[in-house]
């Protein structure tokens, strides 16, 4: 059993460390982005899978972390301080909001987190003189851990990889701690745990705050990654995407959400660059995962592959501006 628990992470570490050797510049960048998303989605997976709290406003903490780096970064350019500040502020906001919200459950919790997220979104959207409003703002802080600014793609990649692995490890430790076990007990049988004298709300609150912190941490990294923040980072649509990533990857595990993040981000950027019909294809994939997920995701992949192949060839091999107007009409349906 113990060997099983560790086999997956070891393999992952090996793959992660070796990836830059085979990937192009773009691949390295994309993988860095996936890893940051993975941290964020893991934080959401933590509250869904281990505390049964389904949130539709988790992007608020991610965006908050990113904005902390962007806003504080204009005054003080210290990576350690900024990242810690992002995590702590997001954690505090999660704690305070959790204090109020955690007594709601199920759909009510889903909606109240959505509302809270949209309020934060509105705040950053409206504070145009400070945040640039809908236009967003550039991040002026530079990434420097004390030994020179990290500007190379590979350097950033390894930094994010370490951040991901450490986050993963800490979450692992948390889950197997007595505290974590208590939380899982609640998820499985809330009334039993109450009867045993556990204060459920406290446990949930701790997990929720921790999750908010981690999301803020991921957001801070993302601010450094893109050097640009905008209110889209807090919008409920982004929360919804993260929720999808958790479910696609598998609820109740730590790796699942991370894989879900990779699957979603990479697949979407792929499909959307081959066809304008990407929302439909993504939709079909989600439906298929629900309906046939049990038969294995591979089946779905085959289906998708067949769908995509002819399109790919068409777009790659004919110049995009053909002579007789074939395949060149704007996609109007």
């Amino acid at each position: 059993m113990r060997a099983n628990i560790w086999r997956t992470p070891t393999l992952f570490i090996a793959i992660l460390l070796l990836l830059p050797l085979i990937l192009t510049n773009y691949g390295v960048k994309l993988t860095s982005e996936v890893l940051i998303m993975a941290i964020f989605v893991m934080s959401l997976g933590l509250i869904i899978g281990f505390a049964g709290l389904v949130s539709l406003g988790h992007a608020a903490f991610f965006g908050l972390g990113a904005y902390v780096v962007a806003l504080l970064g204009t005054h003080l350019d210290n990576t350690y301080v900024l990242i810690i500040a992002a995590a702590v502020i997001s954690g505090i906001v999660a704690f305070v909001s959790g204090l109020l919200f955690i007594r709601s459950s199920g759909a009510y919790f889903l909606m109240i987190t959505l509302a809270f997220g949209q309020m934060l979104f509105a705040i950053f959207y409206k504070m145009e003189s400070v945040t640039g409003g809908a236009d967003g703002m550039a991040v002026s802080a530079s990434l420097n851990l004390g030994f020179g600014a990290i500007e190379s793609r590979v350097g950033f990649y390894y930094l994010v990889t370490i951040a991901f692995l450490v986050s993963y490890y800490l979450l692992r430790v948390f889950i197997s701690s007595p505290l974590g076990k208590g939380v899982r007990g609640i998820k499985e049988n809330e009334s039993r745990m109450t009867a045993l004298g556990y204060n459920i709300r406290h446990y949930k609150l701790i997990v929720y705050s921790l999750s908010g912190m981690l999301a803020g941490f991921a957001g801070a990294l993302y601010a450094y990654f893109n050097q640009y923040v905008s209110p889209d980072l807090l919008h409920w649509m982004f929360s919804g995407q993260a929720l999808i990533m958790v479910i696609v990857g598998g609820v109740g595990t730590l790796v699942g959400p991370a894989i879900g993040a990779g699957f979603f981000v990479i697949l979407q950027s792929y499909i959307s660059s081959y066809t304008d019909r990407w929302p439909m294809i993504m939709g079909v994939i989600f439906v298929a995962i629900v309906l046939y997920g049990r038969g294995g995701i591979l089946q779905i992949a085959m289906l998708l592959w067949n769908k995509l192949r002819p399109k790919r060839h068409k777009e790659e091999e004919t110049p995009i501006l053909p002579k007789e107007g074939n395949g060149f009409e704007s996609v109007k349906g």
Partner: protein
């Protein structure tokens, strides 16, 4: 959830595998660098094909495609390929698409974006990578001012140029007391700010400002408020479906014909006036383009466009057409696709647009535009735009931000 846990493992493995395969595939494809004779010129277009900006993006794409098709899909003797990407009007997605186009597809230059947030987000990476971006729509003023870049040139219009030109005519001929309305976001603020400055300078007065949220679902509140405020005229800045609903509800609330409706060029464009129908009749404003413009380039353009797409071109079509045209002219003149050569040519590039003879203003990297006064008239069961005269000739965006009026 029990079943899920049991199957979790195989699912994780398969999806990991799949993810990795995709990643490696993506990394390996499209690695040909382009240079030299006969090699295709690769253009990356970052537009917003999903979301509310989709019609704008499709229009720009249609305009670009028309130009390249008319020119045999070639610039000089090199074939042209355009790779269109969807940024979902989200800067974070746009940056991902940018990296894909620049790092992986190795495009020679970029066209885009619709949204101002995207152009700001791209601006710093463009400076770093030194790749030319032809702005086909995003109207943020600051891209001509503080955020001006050697590599970014706008062939569409700035918010300042959209808000300014109609103001003097409106103040002098329609009324002095204006009710202004625009979405509560930077483009709305910039456009109304420009209108206000010019309107007040012409002796007008803003009696009320209304700021609905972007994508406001019902204008009833504002229309009721307009009835109460009783201004001489209403000047809105809205786009797409927002503009259509505003115009239709303006009529439903009995305001059409009672309080004159003016507006930015969005209200004088078939994209809005076709679906809005007769409700749009009588709107007056300044615009940089209507299909009725009397010049040789426009006549040929309208004819070719109508033949290919079966409808009247809108000004986004022209922005797309001119983006393609400017790229072609610049590459031909510079004799290369290298950014350092292109930027020398682009600074003051002149070309024949359906909008008239246009030239880039080297100080702002923004076009010097002729603005026309136009009016929506109902003719043969359809709204068409009628030119009433010149609003402003040779309108340039100022070189520095004008002092804010209050």
């Amino acid at each position: 959830m029990v079943g899920k846990k049991r199957l979790g493992k195989s699912r994780i493995w398969i999806s990991t595998l799949l993810t990795l395969v995709l990643l490696v595939l993506g990394a390996c494809s499209n690695q040909t660098a382009s240079s030299g004779e006969g090699e295709p010129i690769k253009i990356g277009a970052i537009l917003s094909f999903s979301g509310n900006f989709a019609p704008l993006s499709e229009s720009i794409k249609a305009g670009m495609e028309l130009y390249f098709e008319q020119n045999g899909n070639k610039i000089g003797n090199r074939p042209v390929t355009v790779k269109y990407e969807d940024d979902e009007a989200n800067p974070q997605v746009a940056l991902r698409k940018y990296r894909q186009l620049v790092d992986s597809e190795k495009v020679d230059l970029l066209v885009g974006p619709i949204s101002s947030s995207v152009v700001y987000a791209l601006r710093d990476v463009i400076e770093k990578d030194k790749i030319v971006l032809i702005v086909a729509n995003a109207a943020a003023n600051d891209i001509s001012w503080d955020k001006k870049s050697d590599y970014i040139y706008r062939v569409s219009i700035s918010n300042w140029q959209d808000g300014t030109p109609g103001a003097a005519y409106i103040a002098n001929n329609i009324g002095k007391k204006a009710y202004v309305l625009a979405p509560d976001y930077p483009a709305g603020h910039e456009t109304i700010e420009a209108f206000k400055a010019a309107f007040v300078a012409a002796g007008g007065e803003i009696v009320k400002e209304a700021w609905p949220k972007l994508g406001n679902n019902d204008y009833a509140t504002y229309l009721t408020d307009i009835q109460q405020t009783k201004p001489d005229l209403v000047f809105p800045f809205l786009a797409g479906t927002d503009a259509i609903r505003f115009v239709q509800q303006y009529e439903q609330f009995g305001l059409k014909g009672k309080i004159p409706l003016t507006g930015t060029q969005e209200f004088l464009d078939p994209l809005v006036t076709d679906p809005a129908g007769q409700a749009a009749e009588g709107i007056i404003g300044a615009t940089m383009y209507t299909a009725a413009l009397d010049n040789a380039t426009n006549k040929a353009f309208v004819e070719a466009f109508t033949k290919k797409y079966g409808k009247t071109p809108n000004y986004f079509n022209v922005q797309g057409y001119d983006s393609a045209q400017v790229i072609a002219k610049a590459v031909e003149k510079a004799g290369s696709v290298k950014s350092e050569d292109l930027t020398k040519v682009l600074k003051d590039i002149a070309f024949s647009s359906p909008r008239g003879e246009l030239a880039m203003d080297p100080m702002t990297h923004n076009l010097t535009l002729d603005m026309y006064l136009a009016k929506n008239v109902w003719k043969d069961g359809k709204i068409v735009q009628e030119i009433m005269g010149d609003a402003m000739k040779g309108l340039k965006i100022p070189e520095t931000p004008p002092a804010k009026s209050k």
